[in-house]
Symmetry: C2
Subunit: 297 residues, 2 copies
């Protein structure tokens, strides 16, 4: 398909459905205020980039719609739990997130810890519904992809490298490795989970993996740029934290101009992968990659 | 089968296989020391009650052996992560576990948080292996059962109730509800995951669910008794913490003698459920229930 996509309309529709699904699944009925803390962590905030990537990839491969919406919500739950834990005093000790007090500020540290833990469990629960709502082979693939993206060789491992890197100088290779795990694994995982909702050929899958890897890294490069160039209000979180905490970033390593250039190169790589994917309609995936690089928060 | 089971031999064999499997799966290769912290949290300690329940239930229903070992290890990983997070300063702030410094004492709070998070992800990763090592329908069932047992309406929810209960007086119903979630859900879940590795009839499944529920509650009643009657060295953790923290327990609610009687009643209920299960060989499950009630640590 070569016609232009109404991306704003596409996004509005998909976001509406994601929000409704998340609101239905993250129920307030969790005991002793736990459900409330989980909802606070998940609802009414966030750009929902990961769910949109899942849905766009699933649509590109003609994937199972019910599976795609579950996968979309599951990656957002993992993302949300990681932010809750990341904001805790023993980690980044951040008090502001999406312009609101962080979960531990609002509900206490212990409840925040548990809410994060329960959100991770819920993510997997969504992927394995009772009955035949989703084909069991798809359920199993989605669980595998999510677990790998979230675990020690994915997001959690990236955070461990991040912890160990504060105050150290990293080479560009080391920085890239950290980000491939810390944010890249779940972003690429989102794309691959979308693809797993349908039947992508091996070459289409490989192209989507390359797209996801480039987009994941671009996301982080732009994050590092925004930490320097944007203010806290636009970001909805505390700006300038990386420099303050002496964390290695693309900007500290490459400088601002070279970082911007690198983001553009990664965007070109992501779009090139889609060109080579053999998939008919990759317009939403293309628009999402542009959005990641051109965003201002 | 009515002959007696060499339970010591059965346990030795199964424990050996569980330890070997855990050691293989919790690899030291997790980046920036994360793998080391994960291994420390999981290996060389613990009674492995949950894995043994999985294996005994799977054997009772003639379940898939490879699936059963994965399920056995996955419940232990969830248990291990819950202990790591539970010991953190913002929760129970405990420094001794299984006679060793707790994970955050040894590796720092941030690493302990991440190790727990990564262990939860790894639990699900084990359940969804690539290829056809385990039938995909079994993979999906195991992921569903584990997610429910670990989440807001299972273990994490029970911990939230526990948090909210400190310094409050609970009725026996409220205390039971807390424990059904906090420890009962994963113990019962272990039994049901074992059953899901094979084909149990609806009535056998219901009987195993009753067995798991009674055993789960008995476990907690005995835990409360031991917190009062055993010393820290025998327990391998700090004794007397519940009373010190003014936590409601069976002993504080019912007294020591009535608590012991209640544990015996629950054991009888668990064994009665097995009698009614229609399963041929429930000897290991019976012996495990006795072990739970008659243990001294």
């Amino acid at each position: 398909m070569t016609g232009s996509l109404d991306f704003a309309g596409w996004t509005r529709d998909r976001l509406g459905r994601v929000e409704a699904a998340l609101s239905g699944w993250v129920d307030v009925g969790g005991p002793a205020g736990l459900g409330e803390a989980m909802r606070y962590a998940v609802l009414d905030g966030g750009k929902r980039l990961r769910p949109l990537l899942v849905l766009a990839a699933a649509e590109a491969v003609g994937g199972h719609e019910g599976a795609a919406m579950r996968a979309a919500c599951s990656v957002e739950l993992i993302h949300a739990y990681s932010l809750v834990h990341d904001d805790l005093p023993c980690m980044d000790n951040d008090v502001l997130r999406r312009g609101k007090p962080t979960v531990h500020v609002k509900f206490g540290e212990a409840q925040a810890l548990l809410a994060g833990d329960a959100l991770q469990a819920l993510a997997f629960e969504l992927l394995a519904p009772e009955g035949d709502v989703v084909p069991v082979a798809v359920q199993a693939s989605l669980c595998r992809l999510l677990a790998k993206a979230a675990g020690a060789h994915g997001m959690a491992g990236g955070q461990a490298i991040d912890l160990a890197s504060v105050g150290r100088s990293l080479t560009e290779d080391e920085l890239r490795h950290m980000h491939r795990l810390k944010t890249g694994a779940l972003l690429q995982g989102s794309v691959m989970m979308g693809a797993a909702c349908g039947r992508a050929s091996a070459s289409s899958s490989a192209a989507l993996a390359r797209y996801g890897a480039a987009l994941g890294l671009a996301f982080q490069v732009v994050d590092d740029i925004l930490d320097v160039t944007a203010d806290s209000q636009t970001l909805g979180k505390t700006a300038g934290k990386d420099a303050e905490q002496d964390k290695p970033t693309y900007v500290s390593l490459l400088g601002l101009e070279r970082s911007r250039e690198h983001a553009r190169e990664l965007l070109a790589d992501a779009l090139g992968a889609l060109d080579a994917s053999g998939l008919e309609d990759t317009r939403a995936l293309r628009a999402l990659a542009r959005m990641v690089v051109e965003r201002d928060n």
